[in-house]
Symmetry: D2
Subunit: 361 residues, 4 copies
């Protein structure tokens, strides 16, 4: 597990209640697995794979889903199929940039191994780049790691920080990684959950905010160094990327999932993400509220009324913001490729910064 | 002119410098005109038209442009042409929802009147709805008003608040309207300007933030009432809409203008906009950095390097945020249709709220 | 009524059966109205408005819909809302380019007049340009004409050729206009109808094909002149535009309507449309198979299985092709603005061309 | 090399001239390589990889590009980056569905091996499914095969039919595969080339047309059997997929490349493709007319005038149609997985069918 979660530090974000776990796994049926690879020989590697199953029968019982690319300097496979059909038909993988392919094919081979009868698969695998801390050109991720993350996936609390696909990540020039959060959208007699999981690897220090407080300006590079040294011969950038996976049990149609995905932009903005040029800020939302059997001639599905979306949008924005900050509070200082070190967000200084901007009565 | 601008109150947003006017007219060549209609007979009307000319020869010398719909419960004409060609070929109108048509055709008739030789026009006209303060079903806007706004357009400071298309608008449950701001993106020997003009008519009170300070929670409905009474028989919503027009002299291609437009989402998020279901949050960005003659066989154009976009994105986010707050500080309390009153954001209480969250050293 | 329909001439297209009327009105509930304006004083005008009601309660009981722009040198209002919500909430208007605005606002005013309780409307109005035969710069279409087309709308056979929005149109350099057709998609115990209505105003002569036969090369400009004289000082083009409205009673979701709309491209291609640069080739598909009450908290809707779409796609392509050719066989030679004449497709020469390429046994 | 090309059989399509090779390699600088795998042990495999280099320096000197998904039941990686930046930054791979990942990562590893200094890559790899003739669940394609196709790539005539990614493909229920063609768009003193390469794996027999002649109805299943037996326990479909790569030396911007890509729909329609539900009909167009250095601060680029696009669109449609038919005339009867046989399009019967519909004078 990571160091701590934001709420463990006594800091709350947003107005809506969290689910019991404050995690994507608050949406019933979702399981998450990580495979983490940290080794120094033959090459220094800090990487991994994270897998999210909407439910274990996803190869035959599809979910509605939609995506949004806020800034597309990144990869998410399967989006052409999502744009066409609005159907999620595989678990979702998140890994490092150069390993998208092996993880994508590994989902196909896993289905074949499990005897899924299906001519072919179009899995969703997304990435952020961990080449600053990990020797990415060794292509360290394997099919076995992807299968391990699929196998080990479980409900309950989700590991955050330096795990799975988040292992080598950097966020607002602190150590980044995996984070999760959730919100309850209760209205008109319904209570729906919106859960979010992020792989956070983006952002300039000075833009980081927590509940509006300019934490990044307070804990600046004089306080905690970043990573602005030139890299691979190119000038350093702090662009990075972030993948946001949003899940809900509200019964949404594909076009409504697209709308929900777009709201990750708001939560990202609140935390300080502006979609920098080099960033792959790609968001996917799926709903477990309808289940579409693969070969159905018809499906009877439920659609949430349009006006009911507003509360879900707020839930999505809040949960995205908190999932990002949870990635930061969980992740731990890491030394990696070429002896580089990326520092964690110090809890004490975070608390000090928040206190400094507290209301003065 | 409106009551005041944010910086007049001693409050600054963001890190980049503003242009000399802190207005969209800081981008050379841009002129803006308003036509405002406030009358009580035969019907109570609070409405108008705002026109933005990228330059006066736009019917024959096109600009590259792109748009983004963050939440599409609204209208912007001309977007199908923009998506296809990336060319802005008309002035941009902003008005009330039921008057989009008359303003759109009026741009065509204005061109005809001026003797522009062109088989047809595909103008850009966007809207937000002013039906709470104005009797929208009287369809009060006329061709003459649209022509007036086109004719009167000028450079220099831009009127804000209750003017033009912004006359009857509501923002975060305060009186809203037109706002503008600008930023300088200086890098690598270049200095580009990003200017923004908004017609702000969206948002829930409790989400409003200024530089991260939860102003909307501080100046809540107990302090200044909003407009939550049921409306037209339907439950009240605070959804509204916002149109954001972004202009730059940086030499962008159409696809880069689309990227810039998308960044209004960030600035809107910082101010507290989440793209509520009923909101038409539609953004258009154009560049005056290239000029395409209508019938050119070829054009030689300049493109800003991709990595250079990040600074423009930050400028767009900051200018959008400040333009929204400028609309709020400028707009004045208004009583309108059915005796309803919408209250302005009180400057003193805004300053108090900002002071309350000031850093405690 | 027009001169004749393709099947009246003994020519059949495609393999699927037509509906009883071979018209968009084969989809139950759909009514179509035209308002036609042909006058020589004070200006020579050949124009009109066509209105399609999915059903008469569309302002409160929405249909799912989606659109596709194959080449976006044209206008269709309401598409930003369609992209967001996938809901069609108004009748669909088709008219001339410079009159899109008046027709759009007229739909709003019609709803107001009828006492529809709704804060605002985002109607769908599309256009093609009739400026070669009609003095478009006189802006001849009125609100009253739009209301007339709405009022007069009825089921049963649909007038084709020089009527409504199609009055002044040109297609493959013959006289064009309104055309319609339908197909039955019967499979797995279901029988769905796909109906199409086009306003056809596009295309180069030499590309016209009927059932694959190069009719346009056979009936070339030596046989029947076209309209290649320079126009408005600009070189003549044959670009034009086409609006295709597709309707079905199959229960489709919004994302499936988008897919269906895209298939008009195939039918257009078969007839000889390549989406020339200046063409506004914009397609909208809606489904009457689900009905969404405007203020519903939830809706239970039906979705056709994905594999079942293929037959609908074929139906859409065939019906689009035939609707275009029906516009050509119906339209009559017209003389208009500046004494210009556009000639009809001669039936005898069409039959000769088809016979010339008949199979040789 | 394949059996024959369409023009070798005395059959011509379209009105524009071909380039000297009638191949994508008519666009200067383009090189194409295939790696083909046909083996019966340990599993029966009929598969491969095809690679297209816009030019050999594509990792550092980018091309503008755009894509269109006519029916997205397929995969093309790299499209999120293309949608964002409009820049093609890798060679383009085409392979089988389950091997997209390995080929995608192999492009990254090839760049690393060659010492390209770049933090990460977002390569374009597309697929069609060869599981009817090849044991796809053995995941037969390797990194070495992808590297081989990259290395072996060359200009000049392009192998067609059962080669590279096209090895195991099926088209209109005949043996399909790789095909190519080109057209010259000469106008206003310029002469541009449009080259197309397809991997054709789609289509129902009865829809196949050649120059409008219903060849598929003439050479029906009684004449040459298809492959309608149930497959993998599911009912047989004839959906398949087609990848179309369009290249031009005309100086296009990204948004213009998107437009060009969309025109593959027309050529596909002419050949008989309707974008069946299960089909991944995905098109990519790139222009070698501008070259963007990866780290440029600015680029001076040329843009073809909008009106000049029409001729390119026609070239794209014609070349796509002919490339598909070339795939059919080149491909040879193949027996593969589970003893299944797919038959080639017989040249004599094609010629007979064309003659049967010849003009009767």
């Amino acid at each position: 597990m990571g160091r701590a979660r934001l709420r463990d530090l006594g800091i709350k974000l947003g107005r809506l209640s969290t689910g019991p776990l404050n995690a994507i796994t608050d949406v019933a049926g979702i399981v998450v697995g990580h495979s983490t690879l940290i080794r120094d020989k033959p090459a220094i590697v800090r990487t991994g794979v994270t897998m999210i199953w909407p439910h274990r029968d996803i190869f035959t019982d599809y979910c509605f889903a939609g995506f949004h690319s806020f800034n597309g300097n990144g990869e998410m496979t399967g989006t052409i199929w999502l744009a066409e059909q609005g159907l999620l038909s595989s678990p979702i993988g998140i890994t490092c940039t150069h390993c998208v392919g092996v993880v994508r094919d590994a989902i196909c081979s896993y289905a074949a191994k499990k005897g899924v009868k299906q001519a072919f698969h179009l899995p969703v695998v997304a990435e952020t780049h961990d080449g600053w801390l990990s020797d990415a050109e060794t292509f360290p991720v394997t099919e076995a790691m992807a299968h391990e993350a699929l196998e080990k996936a479980k409900g309950g609390p989700v590991e955050e920080g330096n795990v799975g696909g988040g292992t080598g990540m950097i966020c607002h020039e602190f150590k980044g990684g995996i984070g999760t959060a959730s919100r309850i959208a209760a209205e008109a007699g319904d209570s729906f959950t919106v859960g979010v999981l992020v792989q956070a690897n983006y952002g300039a220090r000075d833009l980081l905010r927590v509940d509006g407080v300019p934490v990044g300006r307070e804990i600046n590079h004089d306080v905690v160094p970043g990573h602005r040294a030139p890299f691979q011969g190119a000038p350093a950038t702090t662009d990075g990327s972030i993948i946001v996976i949003l899940a809900t049990d509200a019964p949404l149609l594909p076009i409504q999932c697209q709308r929900l995905a777009r709201r990750a932009t708001t939560g990202l903005g609140w935390a300080g993400g502006i979609g920098a040029n080099g960033s792959g800020d790609i968001f996917l939302a799926f709903s477990t509220g309808n289940c579409i059997a693969r070969d159905a001639q018809h499906a009877d599905v439920r659609m949430l009324g349009a006006e009911r979306m507003t509360l879900l949008f707020r839930a999505a924005a809040e949960a995205t913001e908190e999932a990002i900050i949870n990635a930061l509070t969980a992740a731990q200082t890491m030394t990696g490729f070429q002896g580089r070190t990326l520092y964690e967000l110090p809890h004490d200084k975070l608390k000090q910064a928040m206190a400094k901007y507290r209301p003065v009565s």
